[in-house]
Amino acid sequence: MAQNNKIQKRGGEMNFVILITVFMILIFVPFIPGILELLFPIDDKAMSVRMDYSKDPSYFGKSFRRIMVSSISKGEFKEGQNQIKLSSVPESILVIRGDFKHGGENFESIMVVLGDLISKYNNSFNKEIYVKGNAFFGGGSVIRAAAVDKNAELKEQTKIIRWLDVKGCITAGEESHLGVSVSCGEKFQLSKGCRFRRLFGNPILTPVNARSINYGSLKNGKNIGEPSIISYSDKIINGNIKYEEPVIINGNLIINGNLEIKNEFTINGDIKANGKVIIDTAENVTINGNVVSESVISMKGNIKAVGDIFSQDEVYLEGINIGSFNNFKSVIAKKKLTLGKSVEIYGFVSTEGIGIVEGEQ
């Protein structure tokens, strides 16, 4: 009996030891991958930070142009097919020392055109192009990426896949798709139905409304007849505000709510609204500052804005002048950016969603 108890006790002790051992092994198991990673590291490098990053809307064009110009100046290219190493694999490059005129063809190599490029309808340029002269892309053309040193004209339904950088002017035809980024150093004329993500121009223009308006004629609200004059010193206003009478505001207007402007309006400061900013008036509106909203910004009328427009939602612009020559400003909309008639923006427009130039209503 006593021996049985002893055996049972010993069996119990054994079970306990096994249990503890299994428990310790199970505790240890999750550490095994980590121990292996410490002993034989495969992911121990500092995460990459681009130390030389500097914002430049023409970045792609500049870096591609730099490589091409450098190769040309070193005399590395002959007329016709050549090889160039842009990444790890050498690529073929077609060099044309004069003008280039073609239609209805597909081009599968990088191209350098030292004269003008005149592409007729439905050409596909499936690799990057560098054009030292002017570039004319016929309707329905597809261009992966292009850097142009003079002017560029895109006929209707031209499609940019990645980027286009032009030192001179750009004219974009109706229904053109402007890829990820299109920039130019001078005038950028858009047509109805153009779609875009990022544009830069000096200025960017949309078609002018027939009922043309004369923005920019105001001088800090001096045209306003008997306005109310309000001064704010960064006071935060809780609730919605609607201005239906002429008003001049000195200071920043910060609202936890919606802002609606229906009459002549001048602000010498910034506007920030947690809600919508709606400007819809035939009267003159002058904003001597930035407009920032967590919601929709809709500005329609006869508006002069000297600052940036920034929305976490959608932006609609019509009849507005933003920035001035070589004094660049930005219009940024997270979800959608619609440019109506008579929009003149000196600088940058960008959206993470859809950018579109509005057609006839």
């Binding site: 121990d44 910060i254 940024i332």
Partner: protein
């Protein structure tokens, strides 16, 4: 009777600890899901504007001969126009070559305007206050000396102030010496969860993203108008965060504005660092808890997040008391009510408070950063968990003494390990 009351109190406290942990677990899970599936708020960095605001960049330095040339070299290469920028390196009682190094840079670059402090009243807050007194900038950016700002960082940080409601801005901290040892690797993961998920989610949700005292900045007037930085609070960054939010201003968090820092490579240095953070943060908690609750400019969710943020460095102490509580109940034979709860207490605590960023945030952060292999180290956060419990609690107790006796605090700089030049 007395024993029954004590047992009841101990059980209630145990349930309180569980409740607090559940709140934080829900909070961090909510942040994680927001980061994965929610609407991501855009930072202002896409703005291109040819008008620049005057900025003063203050760099407090105490014995920073190893790091000073690197940060100054990088800042002079910044794409921000030098006519609109001044760099104020503050030599705070250095006994090494820091003074000579920054004076040499000042000779070469007119926009570098050093300050030399030889007062016995040394410390980061004191140095910042001296910098604010001479700064010409409308906006102040602050970098710790071990940081390595990229070329476009200053411009992208400053652009947030185009929004008149933005009172402060904060970039993302990345660790450069990740591969040194287990500690630096764990801190790297902790930063990933803390910034990539926690900070960005709070920014997305319009809550309280935190100004971190470096790779960030603020409007000078908002700080100087209320007397500068409180020299008795070791967490001037957290203090400023709450000061700005209570005034109705926001802090913009810029997840894509990354800047390298050097992480502590020794556990004792890390212990001092988190003890200091805890001491300072809890001092801010004592000061700002009621102002946050009463603040007119904060909505309900901001208040809730603000309160939970204020309590973050108190929770480990509450948790340690919870463990002691459970042991007492165990030895009193009173664990029958809570014998399953104890499992949650230990495992849940490990998961929720394993580090400054809970495990699921770290995993999600690594996923978003596309660095998947390093999360194999996650189980090692058990050691960080125990480590943090002890030193954060110690910092909390010290902050209580600070408040009770109103004692003067002193700043202990984190040791640098830098070798070689910055690239």
């Amino acid at each position: 009777m007395v024993i029954l009351i004590i047992i009841a109190i101990l059980k209630i406290y145990m349930l309180f600890v569980i409740f607090v942990m559940m709140i934080y677990a829900v909070r961090h899970n909510f942040f994680t899901f927001n980061r994965l599936f929610g609407n991501q708020k855009m930072y202002y960095q896409d703005i291109i504007d040819s008008e620049f605001i005057m900025v003063s960049i203050i760099i407090p330095m105490h014995n920073e001969e190893k790091t000073a040339p690197h940060i100054l070299d990088l800042l002079v290469k910044s794409d921000y126009p030098v006519s609109k920028m001044e760099i104020i390196p503050i030599n705070d009682n250095s006994t090494d070559k820091t003074m000579h190094i920054i004076d040499d840079y000042a000779l070469r670059y007119s926009f570098i305007k050093p300050i030399h402090r030889d007062s016995k009243n040394k410390g980061k807050m004191q140095a910042l206050n001296d910098g604010l007194a001479v700064a010409a900038g409308e906006i102040i950016l602050v970098f710790d000396a071990d940081y390595l700002p990229g070329k476009g960082l200053v411009r992208d940080l400053i652009v947030a102030f185009k929004d008149p409601k933005v009172g402060g801005v904060m970039g993302r901290v990345m660790i450069i010496n990740t591969n040194k040892n287990l500690l630096t690797r764990l801190l790297d993961l902790e930063r990933t969860g803390g910034y990539q998920v926690d900070q960005q989610a709070r920014y997305n949700l319009g809550l309280i993203p935190q100004y971190g005292g470096t790779v960030g900045g603020f409007r000078k007037e908002l700080v100087t108008s209320s007397g500068g930085f409180n020299e008795n609070i070791l967490a001037e960054d957290t203090e400023l965060t709450f000061r700005l939010f209570i005034k109705g201003y926001d802090i913009a968090y810029a997840n894509r504005l990354e800047c390298y820092e050097e992480a502590p490579e020794e556990w004792r240095i890390r212990a001092n660092q988190i003890k200091r953070w805890s001491r300072g943060h809890n001092r801010v908690m004592f000061k700002y808890l009621f102002p946050v609750i009463k603040a007119k400019n904060l909505n309900f969710y901001q208040k809730l997040d603000g309160i939970l943020l204020l309590f973050v460095y108190l929770i480990p102490f509450i948790f340690i008391l919870g463990i002691i509580d459970s042991l007492i109940l165990f030895f009193m034979g009173e664990m029958n009510l809570v014998n399953y709860v104890i499992i949650y207490l230990l495992i849940g605590g490990y998961v929720v408070f394993g580090s400054f960023a809970p495990f699921y945030q770290i995993g999600t952060g690594a996923l978003l950063d596309r660095v998947s292999y390093r999360i194999r180290l996650l189980p090692f956060f058990f050691f960080i968990f125990i480590f943090n419990l002890f030193f954060i609690s110690q910092g909390f107790l010290e902050s209580i003494v600070d408040v009770i006796v109103n004692r003067k605090v002193s700043w202990h700089k984190t040791i640098r390990y830098r070798k070689g030049a910055a690239k």
